[in-house]
């Protein structure tokens, strides 16, 4: 019976001095061996134990990019506690709103300890004091050679929580057992042909499933060297990904779709030279994968040794630990051209006779081992190949439910099948994602629920209560969706409109750390309702595009 902790213990015994990670931040590189990793994590394990934490207790980790993210996380698992990494508040977030939502989350998951950084400690203490939660900063943790290995951790125990989208207070913790995580790693290692010669490179944050699983847990447990950079340094200097990939001969990397477009835009190919031929795969995941992004990436960087077969896709979600499908490495990812009319009118992805008037979808590949899939209609009945419906999955690594949210869990799990809320079709053994049933908008790989955005806008003075709608519109040039908020208002003066727009943008930015592309104020009764009386996202998106850009939208 293996657990993440028992595997880690094995690594520590068999190759203690092997470098697990090159951690790069502020132009410095820190090499972390398995031994260092465990002994530093033991410092946290001792602290948690000393504060009375025991198996099954929750630990929240809010840290900036540093190896202490690893140590505090592993330290919690070593004593059987359940760690969860959350994003730290941004400069612009309203601290009162953040505090309020953190308080709700801490209460709901019954957090017993919060690990944070010095500058955030006072803030965290305000929440923790009232709830009797321990708080600690890395500076208070002492390196400890006396490593604790809790013996009674079982494979079905929860290993950690991954918090899904939603404002902090409404975030759902995806509970993942040791068994589920280890099964996923075994399943996924096969299609990506994971090998001891691989080197994984990442700038992804660890509060995101792609960063946490593909770029931390996979290398940690599968004993693959990792090169890790700071997400905030990458976003101001995207070239550091290529510099470090070249230096370390990286072979695998996972990126959200927007990153492909961003690298194309910001790497100066006429003056910068890199050798990126070591890459076996750069895998597009976490937001809809686009053929156009692959095309511009390949055109720009083929001179660096990037082949079209290097660019791969994956469909993944936290509820399945990570991957559900993976495109076939070494082969160019398939693009399916579909008849637009049939797709819109019949929800049938009929193969297009020619590329004119067709929509294209990039395949996200084949099912990984031990994974079953079915495409279903609204009544959860199976659909045939090429029919668009909800994607549901059954695997040996599905989550056990949303942590302490049994009703939420029951809505999406039925007879062992998880209903993803994503729409797609299946053909010739490959899956294609076409959209989402749930009102989710993915911006730069981060998930936002439309109703969270609307809730905030509804509280702005001047917006007609209950009369606003948030929509996502894909922007080809940035490779991601952008969010537009349409709101009804009685105010007609320019001054009042400017103030309302500014207030909405400010509130959404402060609370969700999301920048709205446009706030479109409309007169009363502009918004279209469905027959059941709900504001229709689809119809209003259509109306907005037509009114503002004279575009007829097909979805």
């Amino acid at each position: 019976m293996a657990t993440l902790v028992s595997v880690l213990r094995e690594h520590c015994i068999t190759h203690p001095n092997k470098i697990f990670c090159r951690f790069i931040a502020r132009d410095k590189e820190e090499c972390i061996s398995y031994k260092m990793l465990i002994e530093n994590s033991a410092g946290y394990a001792h602290h948690y134990k000393c504060k009375g934490l025991k198996k099954g207790d929750s630990v929240i980790i809010i840290l900036k990019h540093s190896p202490h993210l690893f140590y505090s996380f592993i330290g919690a698992m070593m004593i059987g506690a359940i760690p969860s990494i959350l994003p730290f508040p941004s400069e612009r977030q309203d601290i009162n709103l953040h505090r309020d939502s953190m308080e709700k989350l801490s209460q709901r998951i019954g957090a017993k300890s919060i690990v944070t950084y010095k500058e955030n400690l006072e803030e965290v203490n305000q929440i923790a004091r009232d709830l009797g939660i321990d708080t600690v900063i890395p500076e208070q943790i002492k390196f400890n050679k006396d490593v604790i290995w809790e013996d009674d951790i079982e494979e079905n125990n929860i290993a950690f929580l991954q918090h899904s989208s939603g404002t902090t207070g409404l975030k759902r913790g995806v509970a993942l057992s040791h068994k589920s995580v280890l099964s996923q790693l075994d399943n996924y290692a096969h299609p990506i042909k994971l090998d001891s010669k691989d080197v994984i490179i990442s700038w992804l944050p660890l509060y995101h499933d792609m960063g946490l699983i593909a770029c931390f847990i996979v290398p940690l447990i599968k004993n693959i060297p990792l090169v890790m950079m700071d997400p905030f340094e990458w976003v101001v200097m995207p070239r550091i990904l290529f510099e470090n990939a070249q230096k370390n001969k990286a072979t695998l990397c996972w990126l959200p779709n927007f990153a492909y477009n961003l690298l194309v835009r910001y790497i100066d190919t006429s003056n910068e030279k890199y050798d990126l031929s070591s890459f076996r795969a750069i895998i597009d995941c976490s937001e809809p994968c686009k053929a156009h992004s692959f095309e511009i990436f390949h055109n720009a960087f083929s001179k660096y040794g990037i082949k079209s077969e290097t660019l791969q896709t994956c469909y993944a979600m936290a509820e399945n630990v990570f991957a559900i499908t993976q495109s076939e490495l070494g082969k160019k990812v398939r693009v399916d051209y579909v008849d637009k009319q049939s797709f819109v009118d019949k929800h049938y992805a009929k193969k297009a006779d020619n590329k004119e008037n067709a929509i294209n979808f990039l395949s996200v590949g084949k099912l990984i081992p031990n994974t079953e899939i079915k495409i279903v209609n609204d009544k959860r009945k199976d659909l045939a190949e090429r029919y668009v419906g909800e994607i549901s999955v059954k695997t040996n690594c599905l989550f056990s439910g949303y942590f302490k949210l049994p009703e939420e869990s029951a809505k999406v799990i039925e007879d062992g099948w998880f209903y993803t809320g994503d729409l797609g079709y299946y053909v010739d053994g490959e899956l294609y994602i076409t959209g989402r049933k749930k009102d989710l908008i993915i911006v730069h790989g981060k998930n936002y629920y439309a109703h969270d955005i609307e809730y905030l806008a509804n509280h702005i003075d001047g917006v007609k209560k209950g009369r606003c709608v948030a929509i996502g519109i894909y922007n080809d040039s940035i490779g991601s969706e952008e969010v537009i908020l349409i709101a009804e208002t009685e105010h007609q003066s320019q001054e009042a409109s400017s103030r309302i727009i500014k207030d909405i943008k400010k509130r959404v930015s402060e609370d969700l750390n999301l920048l709205l592309k446009d706030v479109y104020l409309v007169p009363l009764k502009w918004l279209i309702k469905t027959t059941s009386g709900k504001i229709s996202r689809k119809e209003n998106k259509r109306k907005y595009l037509k009114e503002k850009f004279k575009i007829d939208s097909e979805d």
């Binding site: 400069e91 995207p238 961003l262």
Partner: protein
């Protein structure tokens, strides 16, 4: 009278999707929701291209407001 280079203001208006009269001299990351990390990257790259200047890694890290940009550009002789 504004002290910020009008070219910089034009770039800001375009990148942040704002009207030119909404660009003020005291604009900063903190008081401008539109100035997020990705728009920051676009802003600095566009300034580099249009003013034919190169920001160092240190410049990029230090820039938090329009005034910071103005000071750095002045030091580069612009």
């Amino acid at each position: 009278m504004s002290k910020i280079n009008p070219k910089i203001k034009d770039i800001c208006a375009r990148v942040f999707n704002l009207k030119s009269n909404e660009i003020s001299d005291d604009m900063s990351k903190e008081n401008t929701p539109e100035w997020d990390s990705l728009n920051n990257l676009t802003l600095l790259t566009d300034i580099e291209k249009e003013l034919k200047v190169k920001f160092s890694a240190r410049d990029i890290t230090n820039i938090k407001s329009l005034k910071d940009i103005e000071i750095i550009l002045k030091a580069k002789g612009l």
